[in-house]
């Protein structure tokens, strides 16, 4: 079975690097997008098995990007973990309403993120 693909849409390079390093010793393949627009484009092209979506993104917000992905048949059922800001609890609800499968509050523990990923998409 081929390796599972994960797309991480996040504008901060250091945060992307955390996930990159976290997944280094796993079999997951990581795709990265720095904003919502690029995230949608990459998702449509590569059909990842899981998407990690930051909510506060430049160009297109994470919420709008999730809605766009849910409308397209190819990505309508792809699991999405929304990464929200803890200070804005209403973000949780917005994220779930926009089609997120789960959410994680920032700052998150990489350990916790990895167990959440494994739960949604078991390693191949």
């Amino acid at each position: 079975m081929s390796a599972k693909t994960i797309l991480y849409v996040e504008d901060n390079e250091l945060n992307r690097k955390i996930v990159r390093d976290l997944l280094r010793r796993t079999s997951y393949r990581l795709l990265e997008a720095p904003d919502g627009e690029a995230g949608i484009a990459i998702a449509r092209e590569h059909h990842p098995d899981l998407i990690l979506m930051d909510i506060q993104l430049p160009k297109i917000s994470g919420i709008d990007a999730m809605r766009a992905l849910r409308e397209a048949p190819a990505t309508a059922d792809t699991p999405i973990i929304a990464i929200t800001s803890f200070a804005l609890s209403e973000d949780h609800q917005k994220a779930m309403d926009a089609g997120a499968s789960a959410y994680l509050a920032k700052p998150y523990s990489p350990r916790e993120l990895l167990s959440m990923i494994r739960e949604l998409v078991p390693e191949g």
Binding site: I18, D21, R24, A87, S89, P107
Partner: protein, 489 residues
Amino acid sequence: MYAKLLVAFLIIVLLLIIVGAAGLQVLSGVNRRGNELVKLQHKIAAYRQLQHDTTSQLYAVSSALVVPEERTLEATLRQLNQFGYDLDRLEFVARDEVELLGQVRDDYEKFIGVVTHVVKLIRGGKVTEGRELQLTQAGPLADRLERVTNQLVNRAEADMVASIEVGEGAYRTSRWIVIGFAVASIGLALLLGYVISWSLIDPVQRMDARLREIAAGDFSRRVAVVNRDELGALAANLNRMNDELGRVYRELQAASRLKSEFLANVSHELRTPMNAILGFNELIIDGIYGEVPPEVKVPLVDIHNSGQHLLRLINNVLDLSKIEAGRMELALENYLVRDTVERVRASLSSLAAQKGIDLVSAVGADLPVAMGDAGRITQCLMNLVGNALKFTREGRVEIAADLRGDALHYRVTDTGIGIAEDQLETVFGAFRQGDATITREFGGTGLGLSITKKFVEMHGGRIWVESELGKGSTFSFTIPLRVELAKPA
């Protein structure tokens, strides 16, 4: 307003005086006519007496002629004196009847002369001559006197009837005048009262309605009061206050919106580097970048604990700002109590381990799925456990949760320094710790407990503390198992 009220009262007083004066006038008229009637009655009585005297005199003289005795003659002369006396009285009570009275007096003088002469003749034994004189002179004189006095009586009686009629007419007129004045006064007083009270009540009602709207946050309208008195000035001030409040309110709303946006941005900006610091630190600890020597792990755990602590402080400061701006809302979702307690224990276990404190949890078995804001409940437990670890030098800290009826009971028990009894009430206030010296030894902002209390109350629960100095504290709070709707902060 003062002048208006004064004028109204003066007008009413004036009306009362006019009604009183009219009444007095009528009363004095009635009194005067009463006096006149009494005088007329006296007159009539005197006239009748005179008539009676004339008749008695004639009778006395006639008797003297029939029985010519000295005793009868004396009586006749006495009668004459009585006649004179009554005539004098008549002149006193009927001074206005000069002509007729003069006639009466003349006739009386003549009558006295004749009667005196007759008496003389009788005494002298000339009875026949006396009778002759009596028939020819005294008789006609007496007749004339009687006629004249009858005339006087009739006239007086006519006067009396006329006077009574005039009196009745005057009484009727006066009555209508008094009634008219009274009715007009009452009507005018009522009208004045209505006008004055309405000119007071209407503006007051309008201002009251406007004040209610202002209190409800509507600054869009102004109150219209045309009065040029104190109420007008009050309304003008009310409008000024309304405009000023509206301006300040709009500025506050704008400032509050800016503050919220600013806080959201600050929150995001702070979280991004915090995420990197804590994330990389955890990756290092977990050996992602290679084996970590044990002596390096200790400071790495310090970084982790300090980072978590900083995060709690940031969360508390941001939350307090949101609560104060009234923008805090609960995000309700299904959650498992065990997961919540476990997350708190896991987050703070390294801090506890570092201080040599046992951090244990005891969650009741088979707790059903709960409904609430799991993030806020986690934050509450984090605050309480963070405090417990901070104020405990040795021993243990226990996080417990169980279900009693419809409410979840969370408890955080420590073996720390405890809280003095007189400070148990104040620990939940913002920026408060038990004692100022505690701040110096243990640090902290004192925000955690007041925010925890707020979150618990937003869930419809309550929080309390039991403590003994030197032995430890137990903070307990209840949360309904299924929170129905978010309550505004």
